[in-house]
Symmetry: C2
Subunit: 395 residues, 2 copies
DNA sequence: CGGCTTTGTTCTGCGAGTGGAGAAAGTTTG
DNA sequence: CAAACTTTCTCCACTCGCAGAACAAAGCCG
């Protein structure tokens, strides 16, 4: 009876994913969902119990006859998530149902390089382990802020992750933790988080727009992440808005990120503070504090007109790009997420207004554009979803 | 022994698609490709022969021992393609291997409405039938120039197809011809044509950019057409290029189609002719001829500077939109097709230049951008591919 | 308590598919 | 030209996955 067992066939994999997504279920209810004979279902469940992946948990209420036995994922199952952001690390541990049991966040500059940052992440995991939360790790999902070769489990020519290019993240962490590991782009794992626990649960094709230090887009086609041929799909930060816009770090002019996103917003906010156009931000600057995107959000919430104008402008530019993507991709849902999503409804209203005006009526007719309802957890949930999909699949 | 048989299981379907794509094959060679025991393979092939879908065709050359029997798709198989364009109808008939046996084209304005245009298409099919090319029709694929509800087999709120909205094209033609019918967007079927017979044969994820009366984009994900949630995916003609560009028929300003595409190019060519900026086009206009996109192509080929400038400008605008799509979608190939593709290498060079400059290096690093090598036939081949995939699938 | 319903378990049988044994057909070698 | 080897085809027995029937166990209801 090994605990590191994998499902032996597609039926077992299906049952595990069902128990993960729907929680404990009686054997009879499972029989209603999966098209299997009662004998076959009982046989596979018995094998899963014997393998230690699931266990029995008493009897369900009667449905008019004999009470059916409940099964659930083993409470000893643990998945680990590392969500590496540009300026932060999130580490979380979940049970088999992907419920977060422990979650720590720490500021950390990704440019310190792969070894430093990953060591820090492992330290944080050690803290959670010390709390006794982790009898054993069954899989680890990792998100990093840049393009990833999913097949190789490593970043490829990432623009902001100095010292990470082709570092074998998957293999290094797999060695360290002795469990299956998958690595993906941080935006992709956020999209998976929304697919698992957020507003996208019933949607097959959707976009997740993440506006933070950078601007990226997670693409879900038919319930699975679309990564493109080199793993860079969704990298929309440098889509052109205007030929004579601000110069971008990438060398071109008028990129979306040159207009909006962490650096651009800080730049504009600082200018507004210095010129005095924004009294709120000017006071902030005088008090000696650094001006960040968060301050703009507060200023806008406080009604500072220049801050509101900045957010509106940003929303307009994001909307212009998103409108094109909606026409092209015709998604069933668009979710706005990321640090700057704290700018909230002012931003959302502006984005909506542009998209609904500029995209095809057929594409926008039934298209919700919403803010993420998973602030801070979409990434880690998505990371565990990624690896659990892998672990809960036929060997 | 019915000729309208369908494969009875997934094995038979697989074998039929193999014979369609690779041509006649010996039983022994088939055994090398499909993972089936010799006995099982022989059994399924015998069933297919009995159903009339395939037939034996002599013996293959020896591979060192007994000669193996060759099988091929029945030469009586026929697929029909209707490729309805904005201003033309193409009707073609193919054999089971999707080789074109007969092909007729006729100018026809799609705005005459569904019944008129489809009757005309059926007339043209009648001509081919009179030539004795069509013993029986096993399936028909139809492409139309507008968004389609693939599930319902009908156009939905198509902008340029007056009199077609929700007309049950699939069911009407199915009734008329007594065979399976599928309807899709004309750009999607061109993409399928490239996937079957063109440069995209070895590529899983690619874009087909069609520049004609309108501008559209076929999206292939993992070897299958992506249609979006309402069937309008790829409708990129109204993506914004500039806020203060020409007013578009859609009501917004600065759409791609307002800059380039059939109507815009004709407009600009006429202006160039009238103003005398283009001597070539001016002569053309004086001779009483109508000025069309084709004239611009000829003028550019003849070295008329203003015509060349028009093509370059157009290519630049197309490239600006395509660059964004490439960053977002990260395809493995981009094919440029459509009537205006006659503008050829001038256009292609300009598009390439913009895309390679403006898209992410990771996305463009190994990205061929090429002209279609299937001038005039991509649509009809794709239409028959669409329906043959359906007919050659397990019932 | 007795009949009815639901659930769990055992057993038999079916159909798909594999792989081996030969027969058939060709090639190569002495 | 015959013998030996190779490849292909056909037939058949056997395995495996699975469904469904039959039966046993457990619970509801009057």
């Amino acid at each position: 009876m090994r605990m590191t067992a994998r499902p032996a066939n597609a039926h077992q994999a299906r049952l595990l994913r069902l128990l993960r997504d729907e929680g404990p279920r009686s054997r009879a209810e499972l029989g209603d969902v999966v098209r299997l004979s009662r004998s076959k279902l009982a046989q596979e469940l018995d094998l899963l119990v014997a393998s230690g992946l699931i266990e029995t948990a008493g009897l369900a209420a009667s449905r008019g006859g004999r009470r059916s036995g409940i099964v659930r994922l083993s409470p000893n199952l643990r998945f680990v998530a590392f969500d590496i952001g540009a300026t932060s690390i999130d580490v979380a541990v979940t049970n088999g149902e992907l419920e977060i049991l422990g979650h720590v966040t720490e500021a950390c500059d990704v440019r310190q390089g792969a070894t430093v940052v990953l060591d820090r992440a492992l330290d944080l995991l050690g803290k959670l382990r010390d709390e006794g939360l982790i009898p054993q790790v069954h899989g680890t999902g990792i998100g990093v802020p840049g393009p990833v070769s999913f097949r190789d489990g490593m970043p490829v020519v990432p623009p902001i992750m100095t010292g990470w290019d082709r570092f074998p993240v998957r293999d290094a962490i797999g060695q360290e933790l002795g469990c299956p590991v998958l690595v993906d782009n941080d935006v992709n794992i956020m999209a998976l988080g929304e697919l698992h626990a957020g507003l996208a649960r019933a949607v097959d094709d959707f976009l997740l727009l993440k506006i933070g230090t950078g601007i990226g887009c997670g693409i879900v086609v038919d319930g699975t992440i679309y990564r493109g041929v080199s793993g860079s799909a969704g990298d929309i930060g440098h889509i052109r808005i205007d030929d004579d816009g601000p110069i971008c770090a990438c060398g071109n002019a008028g990129c979306l990120e040159a207009y909006f996103g962490g650096a651009a917003l800080t730049r504009d906010a600082l200018a507004a503070a210095r010129s005095g156009r924004s009294p709120y931000l000017a006071r902030r600057l005088e008090s000696g504090a650094e001006i960040t995107a968060r301050d703009v959000a507060e200023a806008a919430a406080a009604g500072d007109p220049e801050a509101v104008r900045l957010v509106r402008e940003g929303g307009r530019h994001v909307g212009q790009v998103l409108a094109g993507l909606v026409s092209f991709f015709n998604p069933g849902l668009v979710i706005i997420a990321g640090g700057v999503a704290g700018l909230g409804h002012t931003l959302l209203a502006e984005i909506r207004s542009v998209v609904y005006r500029r995209s095809l009526p057929l594409a926008t007719g039934n298209l919700p554009i919403v803010l993420s309802e998973l602030p801070g957890t979409a990434g880690v949930v998505g990371a565990t979803r990624l690896i659990s999909d892998h672990v809960f699949s036929a060997a």
